[in-house]
Structures are given as structure tokens and as C-alpha cells.
């Protein structure tokens, strides 16, 4: 089936004219037609025409690609899965969307997410709950659950997600696909509806590491419209795709394989690490003493920034507006009705943390922890070329299982948050199944060292040969 192939494979076959672009689009569309009702990955579908220009660089020409619905698309609704932006149509394209248009991808649609990317299960969408294609009673993870589920279900070939504390890697892990958060500043944030500006980063969600490298190459690069965008030469990421890891030092973060990890995950993870060792890599144990503070620091910094970033959704200029007698009441009603519970919880948390008298104790302390974690990483990278851990402490949980307990929900990002706080690249690669559900292997690299991360991921993929597919009807 065409929808089961990777972008790299499809591109080869398209070039050989084994089938037409239209046949590919039709194949993905009919797959969507048959499984979307069970998965609910999309918020909006996009109809496109195949591109006939043969002189386009890259492998993504006419490849069906989905975009997370917090990334602005000109003329196409961008809802952030929120009632407050239910009918919002941007007047400009995000820089990554512009780049994908230049690569002539065939956009399939905008994918579901936890409202404003706040969540780890995609249950916080105002519109629908996306299901995990491996078991539709379970969540796909989040917040990029729609993108990860769409890739896993064959409802697109590749997708874009955004990752603030694990929102690409955690759903990729739950759905058995590859998801990468690049170095902060490598991919432009212009047009990504901000959740936590100092942590947000757009990245690829793909079927394999090869597609990931190619998609990253397509979206990376300096953008004059993003002041935090790095002005750096972009390496040819597909060149990293060699399985030679001889002599590579792989650091297992002690604190992330300790308590709280499901035994099935621990087992699959250590088997995978052993396979890398058998290919000539050297496994070392490293310690990150401050990592236990990453989660609380994250849950102060991210909501603080969010409380300010989401202020603009006030009913004055666009989006949902509640009817009211005066301005203050309009603000209050609009935001009370327009935002979901989790978003409101985080806005309250952040507003509190930034308030006079609390700022130093909360936001200030959290920033100090952030600095300590960056230091931890620096020291760890003196001992190892990459750092690894299970992407998540558990496999995909059941829908509704954690919705009443925000703290339990927050814990599913414990291994992914540190990379966001430090701004370093990190990838999740499927490394096996635990009780029939995918397990993700997280690889973190030094600042801007995507090449080593991709090389390690590719080597892992080659040795593991994870071929299982979700059995979706």
C-alpha cells in the first residue's frame, strides 16, 4: 500500500513513474476515508493539486504532509484546537509552511492537538479526542497527538509537530513513529502560535529516521522574522545517515531509568542500548543531579510565558467573542468560555508565578534551575557524545485514565522536558513493543549537533528493525 511507504521510498518511485502523484494523493485520501473515523487525527483537511514542476529540490514534492493546527496556514483555519480560535483564518503562512510550499509538499490537513499545545494526550482538544492507532482506546500522546497518529495510521506520510516539553517526542513514542525536537532556534518559530516562547520548537514526525533527516533539512534555517532563530550553516542532515557508531560514547542518564519507569519499557530500552553497544558504541552511565527539578521548573516557566502569550485572545480583534455589557465582562466571558480547563489552569499558574511578591520565588527560582540543568548537560556531554533514556516512563495510557489528575499527566513528560529547558536537540525512535504498545528511545545531543543525534538514531533503527505496524481497520 502506498500510504505505508516513507517519503524517501515514495520519492524514488515517483521519479521512476511507478505511479503518479495523483495516485499517491488518492491512496492517502482513501486511507483517511477508511480510518479517520477511528483515529480523529485531523481538525481541518486541505485539498491540493499535484505540482508538475520537476525542478524542485528535496524528496517531499507531492508527498502528503500534515501540519499541526497551531502552525499558521494562510487562508486555512488554524484553531490550536481551541474554541477561542475555532474559526480563525490566518492571513499569513508560518515560515515552515512557506518552506514546505517551496518544497511542493501536498498538504493533507491540520492535525488535532491539546488546546494550545498544553497537554500530553490530545484529550484537551476542544473538538475531538485523537485515538492511538495501536489501540483506539488509548491516547496518542500529546500535544502533537494528531500529527503522530496521522503518521502512524498512514493518514499522511510525514507531519510537523511542535515540542515545548515533549509534545513531539512523547506522542511519537506512543504511536511508534520518529519525532524530533531540533535545537532551539534551528527552525523558525514565526507562525507557530506561541505556548512558551523560550521552549517551543517545531520539528518533524515521520515514519523513519531517513524521512526525519530530510524533513528537518527542509524546514531548518535562519529566519529574519524570528529573533531567536540561529544564524548558522545548516548541515546536510541526510549525510548523517550511516549506521557507523563505532567508538560513539552513549550516556545513559541514570536518573531517567530509575524509579517510575514501567518495567516493560525498561527492558525494551536496555535491550536497544545493548544492540547499539554490539555495533561498537560505548555505553556509559551519566548522572544529572538536578534533573528531578526539571519538571517543577518547566511548570513555572512554561505557564508564565503562556499567561502572557495567550493574553491576546481577548475577543477584541479576532476569534471567539462572548456578548457582554461592558469591556471587562467581555474579556472575562470570552476567556472563560473560549479556553478549556487545562489552558485556564496554566494561565492562572503563570499569572500567579509572575505576580509581584512571587516572581523571584517562582519564575526567578525556575530560571536558576534551568541554568543548573544546562550545566548538568554540559558536564554529561563531557562524558558522552549523546545522552539516552526512554522517551516516556509508560506506554500509551487509556483515554480518560489521567484526565482527573494533572500531576500524573505532567509526569509523562519527565524525560523529555530537560532537552527543552536546555535547548538541545532530541529525537524519539521506536525501539520495540511492550505489551503490544510502542516504546520510544530518546537520544539527546549537544547544542546544534543534530548530525550525531540522527546518526545514532539511524544506527538504532537499522539494528532494531522495528517493522510492526498498528493493526487499524
Amino acid at each position: 500500500m502506498l500510504y505505508e511507504l516513507t517519503a524517501y521510498e515514495l520519492n524514488k518511485k515517483l521519479q521512476k513513474k511507478e505511479f503518479s502523484s495523483k495516485e499517491l494523493t488518492d491512496a492517502v485520501n482513501s486511507r483517511i476515508e477508511s480510518v479517520e473515523k477511528n483515529v480523529d487525527a485531523y481538525v481541518t483537511f486541505i485539498e491540493g493539486k499535484p505540482d508538475n514542476n520537476d525542478n524542485v529540490a528535496g524528496i517531499f514534492r507531492n508527498i502528503p504532509v500534515a501540519v499541526k493546527d497551531n502552525i499558521c496556514t494562510k487562508g486555512i483555519k488554524t484553531t490550536c484546537s481551541s474554541k477561542i480560535l475555532e474559526n480563525y483564518v490566518p492571513i499569513y503562512d508560518a515560515t515552515v509552511v512557506k518552506k514546505l510550499k517551496e518544497a511542493r509538499v501536498a498538504f493533507t490537513g491540520k492535525t488535532n492537538l491539546d488546546e494550545f499545545a498544553m497537554g500530553s494526550s490530545t484529550e484537551n482538544s476542544a473538538f475531538k479526542i485523537t485515538k492511538n492507532p495501536w489501540d483506539t482506546k488509548r491516547v496518542p500522546g500529546g500535544s502533537s497527538g494528531g500529527s503522530a497518529a496521522a503518521v502512524a495510521a498512514g493518514e499522511c506520510i510525514a507531519a510537523l509537530g511542535s515540542d515545548t516539553g515533549g509534545s513531539i517526542r512523547q506522542p511519537a513514542s506512543f504511536c511508534g513513529v520518529v519525532g524530533m525536537k531540533p535545537t532551539y532556534g534551528l527552525v523558525s518559530r514565526y507562525g507557530l502560535v506561541a505556548f512558551a516562547s523560550s521552549l517551543d520548537q517545531i520539528g518533524p514526525i515521520t515514519k523513519d529516521v531517513t524521512d526525519c533527516a530530510h524533513l528537518l533539512k527542509a524546514i531548518a534555517g535562519h529566519d529574519a522574522f524570528d529573533s531567536t532563530s540561529l544564524n548558522t550553516e545548516i548541515p546536510d542532515y541526510p549525510k548523517a545517515l550511516t549506521s557507523n557508531v563505532k567508538g560513539l560514547k552513549i550516556g545513559v542518564i541514570k536518573e531517567l531509568v530509575a524509579e517510575g519507569i514501567e518495567s516493560g519499557i525498561e527492558h525494551v530500552f536496555s535491550e536497544a542500548a545493548k544492540k547499539l553497544e554490539s555495533k561498537g558504541a560505548q555505553i556509559v552511565e551519566v548522572s544529572m543531579p538536578h534533573i528531578e527539578y526539571a519538571l517543577p521548573a518547566y511548570y513555572l516557566i512554561a505557564p508564565s510565558e503562556a499567561s502572557s502569550n495567550l493574553a491576546r485572545f481577548d475577543g477584541v480583534r479576532y476569534g471567539f467573542r462572548a456578548q457582554a455589557e461592558d469591556l471587562l465582562e467581555m474579556y472575562k466571558k470570552t476567556r472563560s468560555v473560549g479556553f478549556g480547563e487545562e489552558v485556564k489552569r496554566r494561565i492562572m499558574l503563570g499569572t500567579y508565578a509572575l505576580s509581584t511578591g512571587y516572581f523571584e520565588a517562582y519564575y526567578g527560582q525556575a530560571q536558576k534551575i534551568r541554568t543548573l540543568i544546562i550545566e548538568d548537560f554540559k558536564k554529561a556531554f563531557e562524558k558522552a557524545d549523546v545522552l539516552v533514556s526512554p522517551t516516556t516512563p509508560s506506554t500509551a495510557f487509556e483515554i480518560g485514565e489521567k484526565t482527573d489528575d494533572p500531576l500524573q499527566m505532567y509526569l509523562s513528560d519527565i524525560a523529555t522536558i530537560p532537552a527543552n529547558l536546555a535547548g538541545i536537540p532530541a529525537i524519539s525512535v521506536p525501539c520495540g513493543l511492550s505489551e503490544g504498545l510502542p516504546v520510544g528511545f530518546q537520544i539527546m545531543g549537544k547544542h546544534l549537533d543534530e548530525m550525531t543525534v540522527l546518526k545514532t538514531a539511524y544506527a538504532l533503527e537499522q539494528t532494531i528493525e522495528f517493522k510492526e505496524k498498528p493493526k487499524l481497520n
Binding site: I71, C72, T78, C80, L85, Y88, P90, I91, Y92, A94, R189, Y190, G191, L192, V193, A194, A196, S197, S198, A224, F225, D226, S227, T228, S304, E305, S307, S308, A311, R312, F313, D314, V316, R317, Y318, D326, L327, Y331, T351, L354, S355, T356, F359, Y363
Partner: protein, 484 residues
């Protein structure tokens, strides 16, 4: 109990719109008075997903202002977000500066009639302006409006905010400070400093304390003063209001007050309890920026002539009295005008100054015009001065010509010719008129002979009347005296 004497303690916050080509964080043009919402883009509209990119020119301008105010330029500076909800602010936060402004710890020596007063500058920082609201109601105030319209053309315009220490003691000093600051930003070329159009806005913190006390009283903040005149009126009103309160045993509330120009008084806008917590935090979209010593020194070396240098030059080069030099450098346009005119009339700069400060200023004030908006160019003025010097017209006629030229923009040469205002200096012609006047006013002649000096003035006046003001008064005087 003895009646206490109070003194006012005033600190100012002055916002100046900077004349950069594009806005503070986007490429939209900085404009004034254009069709609403025609100079906006996704960024200054604060649309979801947009990000700010700092305008380097605005950083250069605020650095120039900091240097002109004798401030320390901080080597690393940062933007903070000031969070509050208001419909004229697209993001519901304003990108501003907080604990590390571009410039801090400066001073400005304010020149007053009785000498100088040093006003310390706490800080000068850069931020973005808001949009403008138009409330559809009689009062133009939000709470009475049926609906309100918003224009985002101004949103994102770079604003320089200067905050003084509470070193000002009277409304007059406040006006002098603002006037001098305005002249500085004009000389720097970074703003037009127009209060009426809102490109220079002043908020004042005022408190009173017994003379001799070093403690501060409770202060009120006064907003909405849109001209130098209203600044002076508002501050004087507020000082009197507080003084009356204190004298009658009342107390001043810490609050924000609104100057109502029509009513001529300040009214409560917000009480202290309603003071907002702005929840400042570093803007994560903008990284801290470096202002290196080299950068600052380069800007310092390129600073244009400032009002105080210009004043010094006017005194040293043109021999002007200090008062004249100060008045002529209170606005860049006036200073430019004077320089231009003196270039064409090197022989007597003081004469040029007299005309600008006297007749010209009087006309400008009545017509509510700035000097560079007037039809009278330096060439016009010098033309007039030359006509007087050559005795083509008398000083009295000159004022008439000035009037005409102010209204029509015609050159004095042309006005004098058209209206046949050339002074009569031909003695025989004047003598004829004198003879006729003396013959007709025998009584006055007798009076003068008997020592009544008043009669001389009457007779000269009669001659001037007959000559339609054109007879040279000196000759008239001399001839009358000779004949009696």
C-alpha cells in the same frame, strides 16, 4: 498654629515618539494622520504566531537620547513584557524595558530665568506605542461609549520614555524641563516633539511637603496634558488642590488623575487600590542586546549640535545675551531659522534676534504656528531688516509690512512697492507738509513755544498722519524744532 508653607515635588515621565522609518518590531511605516489601519501588518496587529524583530535605528535613537541626557549607557540591555489588558494593545502586553533600560543615571541642567536647576534623569528606555481608541460617546470616554473603534497605525511605533527623579519644584520648572527635552530630541533629529499631535506626552507625579522637609508626601499622577499651556495649568491646579487639602487637614490620595482641559481641573481616574500588577518578565522572543563601548562611542562622536552647544555658540559667535540665546534654542526650528537669517545678515545678529523673539514670536503665537510653518522665510525677514537699515521704510511702517508679509508671504520689497510705503526722506517734500501743519495748528505752535513739550508730539503726529506714516520721523522732528 502657624500657617505652613508647602513646596511641590514633581517628577516627570515623558514619552517621545521616535521618527524611525519603520516601527519598533516590524516593517510597517511610522506615520501620522493616515487612514486608520492602513499601516499595519501581522506583527504590529499581534496576530497569533507573529514575533518581534528589533529596529536597530530605534536603539540608536534611544542611545542618542541617553547620551544627550548625560546618562550611562548600559552595556547589556533587555526587553520586558508589561502585561495588562486594553483594547488598543494588540498583544495585551507591551514590549518595554524594566530593570535594565538602555540609559540610566543622567541629568539635565534646566535653564530658568533665575539660573540653572539640575534635574536628575532616572532612566531613558525604549518601548512600543499602543494603537488609538476612538470612543463613540459625547465625552469621548470609554465607559460612556456605545462602541469604540481602534486604529492600529500607531501600534508598535517606537517610544522613548524618559523618567526624571523628583527634582522639579514648580509648574514653570516642569515646563522649562519639557521644553528643553523637546529641543534636545528635535536637535538629535529623533522626534518632532509635537505635544499637540501626541508625539511628546507628559505624565507628572506631584506631591507636596512642608518647606524644609526632606520627606516625600503622598503623590498623585496627572495625565493627559497635551500642550505646554495645559501642562502648566494642570500642574498649578494640582499643586493648589493638594495645598488646599493639606491646609484643611485633609490628605492627598495616591491615585492617577486626568487633566480635563475644558473644565480646567484634574479628576480621579484610578485609585491606588486599582493599581495594576504588570507582571514584568523578560520577553523570551527578544534576546538581551549588547551596546558595546565602541558602539556607544561611535554614536557619541556622531551626535549633532545640541541646544546647550548651540546656545553657547550663539553667545560666543554672535554676541547674543544669554536670554536671547536660550529662547532661540528652545526649539530646533527657531535655532535653524536664526542661523539661516544670520547667514544672510551677518552685521547685526542681535537685531535678527530682536525681531524673532519680539514681533515674529508674537504673530506665531497668535496664529498658533511654529516658525517653520510660517510663510516668512529668513530671506523675507532679512529683506525687511535691510529696508529699515536703508531707511527705505521706518520702524513703524516695518511692523505694518511684517503684518502683511506674515499674512501673504510676499517679500517686503514687493509689499513696500505695491502699497507705496517708501519712506519720504526728501527734506523739501517733508518741509511742505510741516509748513502746512504748522499753519493749521497755531494753538499747538503757541503751546510749544511756551514750553509745552507735549505739543511737539501732537505736531509730529499730524505730519505723520498727512504723510500716511511715510515721512521720516527724525527729519520731521528736526524740521519742526527748527521752525519754531
Amino acid at each position: 498654629m502657624a500657617v505652613k508653607d508647602y513646596e511641590a515635588v514633581i517628577g516627570l515621565e515623558i514619552h517621545v515618539e521616535l521618527l524611525t522609518e519603520s516601527k519598533m518590531f516590524c516593517g510597517s511605516a511610522v506615520t501620522f494622520g493616515e487612514e486608520p489601519n492602513t499601516h499595519t501588518c501581522p506583527i504590529c496587529l499581534g496576530l497569533p504566531g507573529t514575533l518581534p524583530v528589533t529596529n536597530k535605528k530605534a536603539i540608536e535613537y534611544i542611545t542618542m537620547i541617553g547620551l544627550a541626557l548625560n546618562c550611562k549607557i548600559n552595556p547589556i540591555s533587555q526587553f520586558h513584557r508589561k502585561n495588562y489588558f486594553y483594547p488598543d494593545m494588540p498583544k495585551d502586553y507591551q514590549i518595554s524595558q524594566y530593570d535594565i533600560p538602555v540609559a540610566s543615571n543622567g541629568f539635565l541642567d534646566v535653564e530658568l530665568d533665575g539660573g540653572e536647576r539640575r534635574v536628575r534623569i532616572l532612566r531613558a528606555h525604549i518601548e512600543e506605542d499602543t494603537g488609538k481608541l476612538l470612543h463613540e460617546s459625547k465625552s469621548g470616554r470609554l465607559h460612556e461609549a456605545k462602541y469604540s473603534l481602534v486604529d492600529f497605525n500607531r501600534a508598535g511605533t517606537p517610544l522613548a520614555e524618559t523618567v526624571t527623579e523628583p527634582d522639579i519644584r514648580s509648574a514653570e520648572q516642569a515646563v522649562a524641563f519639557v521644553s528643553q527635552l523637546r529641543s534636545i530630541v528635535q536637535h538629535l533629529g529623533v522626534s518632532d516633539g509635537n505635544m499637540e499631535e501626541g508625539s511628546l506626552r507628559v505624565d507628572a507625579n506631584i506631591s507636596l511637603r512642608p518647606v524644609g522637609s526632606n520627606e516625600f508626601g503622598v503623590k498623585a499622577e496627572v495625565k493627559n496634558m497635551n500642550s505646554f499651556r495645559s501642562l502648566k495649568k494642570a500642574l498649578n491646579f494640582e499643586i493648589e488642590r493638594q495645598e488646599e487639602l493639606l491646609r484643611n487637614g485633609g490628605e492627598v490620595h495616591q491615585e492617577t488623575r486626568h487633566w480635563d482641559e475644558k473644565l480646567g481641573r484634574t479628576t480621579t481616574l484610578r485609585r491606588k487600590e486599582e493599581v495594576q500588577d504588570y507582571r514584568y518578565f523578560p520577553d523570551p522572543d527578544l534576546v538581551p542586546f549588547n551596546l558595546t563601548e565602541d558602539y556607544v562611542e561611535e554614536i557619541r562622536s556622531k551626535l549633532p549640535e545640541l541646544p546647550k552647544d548651540r546656545k553657547k555658540r550663539f553667545i560666543e559667535e554672535y554676541g547674543l545675551p544669554a536670554h536671547d540665546a536660550r529662547v532661540l534654542t528652545q526649539s530646533k526650528a527657531v535655532g535653524d531659522y536664526f542661523d539661516e537669517a544670520v547667514k544672510l545678515y551677518k552685521k547685526d545678529p542681535k537685531n535678527v534676534s530682536n525681531w524673532i523673539i519680539g514681533e515674529f514670536s508674537y504673530h506665531l503665537k497668535n496664529a498658533n504656528l511654529e516658525i517653520d510653518e510660517s510663510a516668512i522665510t529668513p530671506k523675507h525677514l532679512v529683506n525687511l531688516l535691510n529696508l529699515i537699515d536703508k531707511k527705505t521704510i521706518s520702524g513703524k511702517i516695518a511692523k505694518e509690512v511684517f503684518d502683511e508679509m506674515f499674512n501673504t508671504g510676499k517679500l517686503p520689497d514687493i509689499i513696500v512697492e505695491e502699497k507705496q510705503l517708501v519712506q519720504i526722506v526728501d527734506e523739501s517734500e517733508i518741509e511742505k507738509i510741516v509748513d502746512a501743519v504748522l499753519e493749521e495748528n497755531a494753538q499747538a505752535v503757541e503751546d510749544l513755544k511756551s514750553g509745552k513739550e507735549k505739543a511737539l508730539g501732537f505736531l509730529v503726529g499730524q505730519v505723520m498722519r498727512f504723510s500716511k506714516g511715510k515721512a521720516n520721523p527724525e527729519i520731521v522732528n528736526r524740521l519742526i524744532k527748527k521752525k519754531i
